[in-house]
């Protein structure tokens, strides 16, 4: 090309084409395509050959070059194909970080909050990746245990659906852009004292945040702060207001409580401090080793809970009848003049017995009112505990742990008024999802949108983010600094384990933007606050100590006594009558709480205690109620395949379609709805799961009310539950149980009718264990069925989530399951919980039948599962009488999502498709401890190895150790008279054994 052709002038070409149409247009187009300018454009855009055959090259040279290059490319391409590896940058430590040994995890103390209340945790970190949460033994609310939410929170950190970017009206923005916007707005608000500023948070106990709110108040005195916690302790707050005239925090010490009355309170699996209560409660039920007494638990509740399952006497009552029960109990102990009888005889039938028992245990008893009961019940309970002399012994009062304790419903209504008036210029929603979980009649979804500028700081883009033009990603608690108070006021620090994955900020940082030092980091904010509180030269040491321990020493609020004002609790109110309607009950979901964990697949797939339902909520009712409504599922044994009928529930003119779940032990005439499901804007896990009871929940009846009607609608709904058959077949002797009195008379009574094969029945020689012989004992008397172990195991062992459809098909992968069994009448059965991990049999049926020796007996007595060797005949599972083996029917493990790769425990294989897996007794922990012991030239110490399930168990029901050491706890438990093997008559000789469950009924009460 000797001369450069003129560049194609697009504008000119367009002008040439303009005004032409039809054939003329096409002709013009052709002409245009023929111009040299256009040809040149094509040539430059799509060169015919990169090299050679050009006009400037001789044909021969060009062809030769072309062939040479082609040949070389082919050869190189071929070479590269053989060894194609993904490009990876390896960054070795040029300088080893302090204390970090690659391959060895480090543990850091931090704090997880739920509804604002903190629980201390220890976070396991592998090369900077938090992978597992354990309880912090130093923390009073944890004592080393963890709840399912906390266990699953590490998945929440790596959730790929988390909010990742700052966005304004859907456009990605930077934090500085947001700050500029905010600063501009604040400048406008300044003269009015921030009258247009509203801040909406959940319940907060953080002292740092409290100080920040104070600081913000100084800058903007007219700004208002509102709180809304959908599953918060609203009634308890109002109850203490009623009883003491001021908000008071109540907590319990069950160590010396001989008699416990739970009035619709699930204190063994929910609420602040439940882990500690469970620990104390279970300790009070431990019989043996010189102890032959047990505490006694009375529970009155509508829906069976883990607490109800531990009751020695459980009274199913409608929630609206429970106030009458509280009055009757108060009357029974001579405290009030309550009714002696009423339309529901059940309310009164045990009053004498319970009151007598409480009377005999003054100062050593406790009555606990549930958060869901109305304020007057709380007030009555305060009065009764006072009457029994329990204050300061089993019941303690402190100032409220929450910041700005007030009536949240009233506060929310206040906000709504302002919103309607159009006086809200800036609405900062820090965490929470009020548009989804606010009282339905407030219509927050539409109302919040009335604020002129709406900002939502949140972990997820949820229903509230949808109506906010500013969406800010919040840091996960493992990513940012913070602090919180526990149930008794103890402060613990929230220490980050990892830099924010998605450039999030904390609520503290956002509040800081309203002050004169907007740029401070969360570390500076938190540390700065405490430097102001803990003055003195030793601050740095004190701070380091507090961060290290996770707990601030002696920071619990001092116990106080408050005089009871009886004036407010003198008269029993008129009990609402059913009048042929049903009672509606709202309860936080045992797995996803108020909906905030809806996108956590571990929690979604966690079989809920007792019901064993996963991935859904349901209209839970008794058999009689279902029968009455004509919605009895045809076959409760196969919900996943046959489906259950749907009912339309109508309450106060609003209605909801929900599947029916029949729950033995549920009170008649009531329907329980678990909150949190039916999310409309959520991640891929939460979407489309369950139905939304918030759509019926009003501020007047946050927890229960009468006046709901239900009618059958068309269609069936498939529910995914992991246990179909709950009836305890006593001939099978799966759960050994008995009464305390009978047990003390004859310990063998709990094993009545059980055949045990004589030792040496087998012709094969026994195994010889020279070193360790690992074993486990599970105390059914301690286990509450809270299911924390299930999630702990899932987190520790990289157990895959399979999804609702697969759970429905019976393919859930949990290595430990908690079976629930009912014995007795369907109206009020005794409930037994039985955790079942692999039994690690001595004569293991699985080992015999595997054709490829993929499951073999280890020298320490474990049934090792060799994933690499497994071909997937599934024969082992068929032959396992305990059905603890889990099969990867598909490729269940997520090999794709990058963030989930960080979550994995590097010490445990991620299993592929077609491979069998099962509980290993956390063999990776055993080996880690053995290696450490070997390095130090000693034996593994008792208690050094804790399996994941054991470590998290608040009831200390699971004990693991070396059976060859007669002094070990597990060996002692196995020598206990209550010890038994599951299906012992099969002579599989399991390593995991159970301790029989005991009940301690009141002899004065006829059942």
């Amino acid at each position: 090309m000797s001369q450069t052709p003129k560049k194609l002038d697009v504008a000119a070409a367009r002008a040439r084409l303009n005004g032409t149409r039809g054939r003329e247009f096409w002709r013009n187009l052709e002409e245009l395509a023929g111009t040299p300018e256009f040809q040149d454009l094509i040539e430059r855009e799509f060169p015919r050959q990169a090299i050679g055959w050009g006009e400037d090259e001789s044909p021969v040279e060009g062809r030769r070059n072309f062939l040479k290059l082609m040949g070389a490319s082919l050869a190189l391409g071929g070479l590269a194909a053989c060894t194609r590896q993904p490009t990876e940058q390896i960054a070795p430590y040029t300088k080893q970080p302090e204390e970090l040994i690659p391959g060895k995890p480090l543990f850091f103390a931090s704090t997880m909050t739920l509804s604002g209340v903190g629980t201390g945790v220890l976070v396991e970190s592998h090369e900077g990746r938090p992978t597992k949460i354990e309880g912090n033994p130093e923390h009073p609310a944890s004592l080393g245990a963890c709840d399912p939410y906390t266990q699953a929170s590490v998945l929440g950190l790596y959730d790929p659906d988390r909010a990742r970017v700052v966005s304004h009206q859907g456009e990605v923005r930077s934090w500085s852009y947001f700050y500029n916007f905010l600063a501009g707005l604040l400048e406008q608000q300044k003269p009015a004292g921030g009258a247009g500023i509203r801040i909406l948070t959940e319940t907060i106990t953080s002292p740092t945040l409290a100080a920040q709110f104070e600081a913000v108040k100084k800058f903007y005195p007219a700004a208002k702060w509102h709180q809304w916690e959908p599953a918060g302790a609203h009634s308890a707050r109002a109850g203490s207001q009623l009883a003491f005239g001021q908000p008071v925090n109540t907590y319990y010490n069950l160590e010396n409580a001989n008699v416990i009355v739970a009035i619709d309170s699930d204190f063994l699996s929910s609420g602040p401090g439940w882990l500690r209560y469970t620990r104390q409660f279970s300790a009070g039920r431990r019989v043996g080793a010189g102890r032959n007494t047990m505490n006694r638990l009375y529970v009155a509740e509508p829906m069976p809970t883990p607490t109800g399952s531990k009751a020695d006497h459980r009274l199913p009552l409608r929630a609206t009848d429970i106030e009458e029960f509280a009055w009757a109990l108060a009357a029974g102990m001579g405290l009030a003049s309550g009714p002696k009888n009423g339309d529901n005889h059940d309310v009164f039938k045990w009053i004498g017995g319970i009151a007598g028992d409480l009377g005999r245990n003054r100062g050593a008893s406790v009555i606990i009112a549930g958060d869901q009961q109305p304020p007057v019940v709380h007030a009555l309970v305060h009065a009764m505990n006072d009457h029994l002399g329990n204050i300061g012994k089993t019941v303690f009062y402190t100032d409220p742990i929450e910041v700005g304790s007030n009536d949240q419903v009233a506060s929310l209504e206040d906000l709504v008024k302002d919103l309607d008036a159009g006086s809200v210029e800036l609405l900062l929603i820090l965490g929470g999802n009020p548009a989804f979980n606010g009282p339905v009649e407030l219509g927050l979804r539409d109302r919040l949108a009335k604020a002129r500028n709406r900002v939502h700081l949140s972990l997820y883009e949820d229903e509230t983010s949808e109506i906010c033009e500013w969406r800010l990603p919040e840091v996960h608690y493992l990513e940012g600094w913070g602090d919180a108070r526990a149930f008794d006021g103890t402060v613990s620090l929230q220490q980050p384990l990892i830099l924010p994955l998605y450039d999030g900020r904390s609520a503290a940082q956002l509040l800081q933007m309203l002050t004169d030092a907007p740029e401070r980091s969360d570390y500076e904010i938190v540390k700065g606050y405490w430097a102001g509180v803990h003055k003195g030269a030793d601050f740095e040491a004190w701070w380091r100590r507090s961060v290290h321990d996770g707990v601030m020493a002696d920071s619990a609020l001092p116990a106080k006594t408050f005089p009871i004002k009886f004036a407010g609790i003198s008269e029993p109110a008129q009990k609402p009558k059913l009048h042929g309607t049903l009672e509606i009950l709202f309860r936080p979901d045992p797995a996803i709480y108020d909906g905030r964990f809806a996108n956590n697949a571990w929690l979604q797939e966690l079989p809920k205690p007792i019901t064993k339902l996963t991935w859904d909520n349901a209209a839970i009712m008794s058999q009689a109620t279902a029968h009455q409504l004509g919605v009895e599922p045809s076959n409760m044994l196969n919900l996943g395949m046959d489906g259950v009928p749907l009912v339309e529930l109508t309450y106060q003119g609003r209605s909801l379609r929900a599947p029916v779940f029949v729950q033995p032990g549920h009170v008649d005439g009531a329907v329980t709805l678990h909150l949190g499901y039916g999310r409309t804007k959520a991640g891929q896990v939460a979407k489309g799961m369950g139905f939304n009871p918030y759509g019926l929940r009003t501020a007047k009846a946050l927890w229960h009310d009468v006046g709901m009607t239900a009618k059958k609608t068309d269609g069936l709904y498939l529910l995914a539950n992991t246990q179909n058959d709950h009836v305890l077949d006593t001939d099978r002797h799966l759960v050994h149980q008995g009464g305390l009195a009978e047990y003390l008379k004859d310990p063998e009574a709990v094993h009545a009718g059980v055949e045990t094969p004589p030792p040496g029945l087998t012709i094969y020689p026994g195994w010889d264990y020279k070193g360790y012989a690992w074993g486990m004992a599970i105390d059914l008397n301690a286990c509450t069925g809270c299911s924390a172990c299930v999630v702990a195991c899932q987190a520790e062992n990289n157990i895959a989530v399979v999804g609702k459809d697969q759970v429905r098909r019976g393919r859930a992968m949990h290595w430990i399951r908690v079976d629930s069994y009912y014995s007795g009448s369907a109206n009020d059965p005794a409930v037994y919980n039985q955790p079942v991990p692999c039994q690690q049999c001595e004569d293991a049926p699985c080992e015999l039948v595997c054709p490829v020796q993929a499951t073999t007996h280890s020298s320490e007595g474990l049934n090792d599962m060799v994933y690499n060797r497994c071909v997937g005949t599934r024969y082992c599972s068929n032959n396992c009488p305990y059905k603890v083996r889990r099969f990867n029917f598909y490729l269940f493990s997520d090999y794709e999502t990058p963030s989930l790769k960080l979550l994995r425990n590097p010490d445990v294989s991620v299993r592929s498709r077609g491979v069998m897996e099962k509980c290993t007794y956390c063999v990776q922990r055993i080996n880690a401890a053995k290696i450490e012991a070997e390095e130090e030239n000693r034996k593994v110490r008792e208690g050094e190895i804790q399996t994941a399930c054991q470590a998290t168990c608040p009831a200390e029901a699971i004990v693991f150790g070396n059976l060859n050491d007669p002094a070990s706890r597990v060996a002692k438990l196995k020598a206990d008279k209550r010890n038994y093997s599951l299906l012992g008559d099969l002579n599989t000789r399991p390593r995991t054994t159970y301790l029989a469950s005991l009940r301690n009924p009141n002899p004065d009460i006829e059942v």
Binding site: V852, N879, R913
Partner: protein, 462 residues
């Protein structure tokens, strides 16, 4: 033997297992003409087409299975074995009749076997081919199936010789080998006949190669007779042992409803029962389409019907014994397993199999029914369904409700369960129709020995 003599006394026609009027050449002509013809009957296209269609289903189902995993089936905890193992046991059982006919009846000198043994053996071979795929298909990682063989592994790992699945590997592979060899050896003289009659050069070369130089010399015949007797001797124990070993898959396990000592004879009887049903299902349409009533006579059908009746009664006895043992053991789990089988979620399958396997075959007591091919065909189909259901019920109902009640769960077959099952029926049909088109479905030389003029003087005198 006594039975046959009685029958002979009742119906003293000499031609009972071969129609009168046949000559050496007419037998050869008739059997060879099925293969050596240009006119393939529509029936063949129908059957082969059906087989190919179902084979397509098989291809789709197994492709999906290999790509995704056994999750496409209805398997679950606790029912980890479902259709695949049911089909395996069922197909293996069907194969047994062929071996019984070709080996045991040969040793017992039952002449009537001569006209049905060839296709019965082919049936065995194809049934074993179908059966043999299931242990591989049902694996989670089927590409590692070779780990079940004791090959010299560099890591020194052996299969677990205590596992019945490893015994299965040996039992089934031995069975497949012996059946194939026996069948092929039996074919050699007929292959030579086809070679000699083939008009087409390619056919002549192929048959010639397969005939391995058979010239029909006295020496050949002598060696052949010895070989086939030896092979019959080898195959005979297999009739009993293969299904015994298959039954060990269940008896060795501790699952209630499986763990039982009478499974081996029960399974063997069931195998022969279903196998003879399959022989009849194949023979009845074949002889009517190809006009082979003169070679496969009513007497053959009658005899097969009698064997079915006898084995059916053994199976009935086993069912009764199973229920009795469940009760008599006094073991709660055994009793519950039988109870669930009869009244639980699989009761419809259980009572159907009782109807198919015990009640319906009682009609075979009547000679009229045994001599009406249509009815016999129908009752054979019923028995095949019944035997499939029997395996299904034993495997699935026992697993669904075993020891720990919390883990009970019901198996629901998916379309892919059915796809693979019907697919193997397709494979069987395809192979079988190829066989009848390409090879003599009845043993020419053995049928010729049934003719009166084939008998030497001594035999005639008797």
């Amino acid at each position: 033997m006594a039975e046959e003599q009685n029958v002979v006394m009742e119906r003293p026609e000499p031609h009972e297992i071969i129609a009168p009027g046949y000559t050496f050449s007419s037998i050869t002509d008739q059997i060879a003409s099925v293969v050596q013809t240009k006119r393939t009957p529509p029936f063949w296209f129908l059957g082969f087409g059906l087989g190919l269609a179902l084979l397509g289903v098989f291809a789709i189902s197994t492709t999906l299975l290999f790509i995704l995993g056994p999750g496409i089936w209805g398997l679950r905890t606790p029912v980890m074995w479902g259709f695949a193992i049911t089909n395996f046991v069922w197909w293996i059982g069907i194969g047994h009749a062929g071996t019984l006919i070709s080996a045991i009846l040969l040793l017992l000198n039952q002449k009537w076997r001569n006209s049905i043994n060839r296709f019965a053996e082919a049936m065995t071979l194809f049934a074993v081919a179908c059966a043999g795929m299931f242990p591989i298909l049902h694996l989670g990682r089927p590409w590692l199936a070779f780990w079940l063989f004791p090959y010299p592994d560099t890591m020194g790992i052996e299969p677990n010789f205590r596992s019945p699945l490893v015994w299965d590997v040996f039992a089934v592979s031995t069975y497949a080998t012996i059946s194939a060899v026996f069948w092929f050896v039996g074919l050699i003289p007929d292959l030579a006949t086809l070679r000699d009659r083939a008009g087409n050069k390619i056919a002549r070369v192929i048959y010639g190669l397969l005939a391995m130089g058979w010239r029909g010399s006295a020496k050949h015949w002598s060696v052949y007779e010895t070989a086939s007797l030896l092979l019959a001797g080898l195959a005979t124990p297999l009739v009993l042992s293969v299904h015994t070993v298959v039954s060990f898959d269940f008896t060795v396990a501790i699952v209630p409803g499986w763990h039982s000592t009478f499974f081996p004879p029960y399974f063997v009887a069931g195998a022969i029962y279903s196998g003879f049903a399959m022989v009849l299902v194949l023979a009845i349409p074949l002889r009517s389409v190809y006009g082979l009533e003169g070679l496969i006579t009513d007497k053959h059908l009658d005899n097969c019907g009698k064997v079915m009746l006898a084995t059916g009664l053994i199976v009935a006895y086993a069912y009764i014994l199973e229920a009795f043992t469940g009760w008599y053991s006094g073991n709660i789990f055994e009793a519950a397993a039988i109870h669930h089988r009869m009244t639980g979620p699989y009761m419809s399958s259980y009572w159907s199999l009782v109807a198919c396997n015990i009640i319906a075959p009682q009609l075979l007591w009547f000679k009229r029914i045994r001599n009406t091919p249509a009815l016999l065909f129908l009752s054979s189909m019923v028995v095949l369904c019944g035997m499939w259901l029997e395996r299904f019920v034993i495997i699935v109902s026992s697993l669904a409700q075993d020891f720990v009640t919390s883990s009970w769960g019901i198996f629901h077959a998916t379309r892919w369960d059915w796809g693979v099952f019907l697919g193997t029926i397709g494979l069987f049909l395809t192979l079988f129709f190829l066989f009848i088109r390409g090879l003599p479905m009845i043993s020419i030389f053995e049928v010729r020995t049934l003719l009166p003029h084939a008998k030497v003087d001594k035999e005639v005198a008797e």
